[in-house]
């Protein structure tokens, strides 16, 4: 078993039209997804949550308010899972609500 980090990115589109109903459904989706991984005994930890705001320090001492204003996806947060290989970890990433929202999940092996 190896550990893999699943990093999810949410698209930075306009969410202002999302209704309370959809929000409620979204909480459920995240719950179901994480529960599913947990039930298989594959969840290592739920990781920290990142706020969407922040700053980015670039070479030459340039500080910007983050890349999220320039690229289309915002790095949301991450969880760490157990899997035999990258293939299995990728399977676990299926069903992540970020994907339904038009975002993506990046799967990266974690070294000791």
């Amino acid at each position: 078993m190896k550990e893999f980090a699943l990093l999810f990115r949410q698209p930075s589109y306009d969410y202002s039209n999302i209704s309370p109903n959809e929000m409620q459904a979204l909480v459920k989706k995240w719950q179901d997804w994480v529960d599913g991984i947990e039930k298989q005994g594959k969840l290592v930890n739920k990781g920290p949550r990142l706020a969407n705001e922040g700053k980015v320090l670039k070479s030459g001492g340039v500080i910007t308010d983050g890349p999220f204003v320039e690229i289309r996806e915002i790095l949301g947060s991450l969880i760490v899972v157990n899997a035999d290989d990258l293939e299995e970890a990728t399977t676990l990433a299926h069903g992540c609500p970020a994907i339904d929202q038009g975002g993506s999940v990046e799967i990266r092996p974690v070294f000791g």
Binding site: S16, N21, W30, I79
Partner: protein, 419 residues
């Protein structure tokens, strides 16, 4: 705390309005869309975080902290804060607006902000249909899709309508503030009227979605109650409107079948009437009975209260005769302050119950509501026992003009009964 999905929806819905109001009060209504975006982003982060980590002990407080951070970040990042907001606020020299600390989510500020938002949204500069849409969105936190469903419209149309309404708020420079003493009398009427329309939108809704209908009515009731928490807006007519809404809402469970069909008043199972809401209604009706203004809400609440009394429970002193005598008198008064076809028709029905078909018919025949199926329904009802041919003609006219399948079915039954 166990947050089932239904309460989570309510939480998002209620907090939407609170957070948008607080942010808009601090920075001004021109930032109302920014405030909506901030709330949506906050909710999105909540969905992700709560889904993974579990729902926090105090979800509302969690939302306030995140919304506050996002607000401060947004205004700093866009430099709007330094360049525009601060100079403007400094020139106002308003010491209350201690805005560098960010939005204040204390209970009292939330209440003040919501109340001021009510007056802003129910501002006569906005067209009435847009007002209801804006109230549903900003004051009640409904989603655009739900509002579109209620108006049997689509998201784009509703979005455009809300956009124009918000633009109007900006262009007319509507402020988040309580009206002055001398403006209050007029402005409160507008607020009450919007709440009344909101309630009607739910009660006589065009949508088939029962949950949505009930939600609209409960939200209207909630907004009414919010007005009673402030001395300036806790007026007799505010209480009368609340009483009216309680009486009508008490029949919610009795007037619909599981299959979503409406059950007309006469056929309702009285045991399903909500006794608590009726008690509440009587309580607010009593509170409304002072001062020297007799509003349409007073009269309508009194009429509605009669309809909440179960005929079986009439005592010797309280007969059906007294009920209709009183209702007729109330309609006589109502017609003087609120002249409308439906009031006229209802009054004639009351007249029929008090004085019989002939008196009612002589008044009904004077009217000429060519396209109103209630009018022909009433005529049919009045002719029923004296001229079955005329009754049939009128019921048939009503049938051809009726708007819903249920109404048509009901009229068909009446026609069949004529034999």
């Amino acid at each position: 705390m166990d947050y089932t999905n239904q309460t989570l929806k309510q939480l998002f819905q209620q907090e939407f309005s609170k957070i948008v109001s607080v942010i808009s009060k601090l920075y001004g209504l021109q930032y109302i869309e920014t405030a909506e975006d901030i709330v949506s982003e906050t909710f999105l982060l909540a969905a992700e975080t709560w889904g993974i980590k579990g729902i926090p002990e105090n979800p509302a407080a969690w939302l306030y902290v995140v919304a506050k951070q996002k607000t401060l970040y947004h205004f700093r990042r866009n430099k709007i804060y330094e360049k525009k907001v601060i100079p403007e606020l400094a020139s106002q020299k308003d010491e209350e607006n201690n805005n560098s600390a960010g939005p204040d989510f204390s209970l009292s500020n939330i209440k003040d902000s919501q109340l001021q938002m009510m007056f802003a949204v129910c501002n006569p500069v906005i067209a009435s249909e847009a007002q209801i849409g804006l109230a549903l969105r900003i004051l009640c936190g409904f989603g655009i899709d739900e509002i579109a469903e209620a108006f049997l419209s689509n998201k784009e149309t509703i979005n455009k309508r809300l956009f124009r309404a918000k633009e109007k708020l900006r262009n007319e420079n509507v402020k988040m503030e309580m009206p002055t003493e001398d403006q209050l009398a007029n402005r409160i009427d507008n607020v009450l009227h919007v709440i009344y329309l909101l309630f009607n939108e739910g009660y006589y809704s065009r949508t088939q979605n029962q949950i949505l209908q009930k939600d609209f009515c409960l939200e209207a009731l909630r907004l009414g109650l919010l007005l009673t928490e402030n001395d300036k807006t806790n007026l007799p007519k505010t209480n009368a409107l609340i009483a009216l809404m309680c009486f009508h809402a008490s029949r919610f469970n009795a007037r619909q079948t599981k299959e979503n069909l409406l059950i007309l008043y006469e056929q309702q199972n009285r045991d399903l009437w909500d006794k608590d809401l009726i008690k509440q209604g009587i309580h607010y009706l009593n509170l409304s009975a002072h001062g020297n203004e007799l509003s349409t809400y007073h009269l309508e609440a009194r009429i509605a209260s009669w309809h909440c009394i179960n005929e079986d429970s009439y005592t010797a002193n309280l007969t059906g005769r007294e009920k209709w005598d009183d209702i007729l008198q109330l309609y006589d008064k109502l017609i003087k302050i609120n002249y409308s076809p439906s009031v006229l028709l209802n009054r004639i029905y009351a007249l029929y119950r008090v004085k019989g078909e002939q008196s009612a018919l002589s008044e009904a025949e004077k009217l000429n509501f060519e396209n109103n199926h209630f009018y022909f329904l009433l005529l049919g009802e009045l002719y029923k026992n004296i001229d079955s041919v005329k009754a049939r003609i009128n019921f048939q006219k009503a049938y051809s003009l009726a708007k819903t399948e249920l109404e048509r079915e009901d009229i068909m039954v009446k026609i069949d009964k004529l034999g």
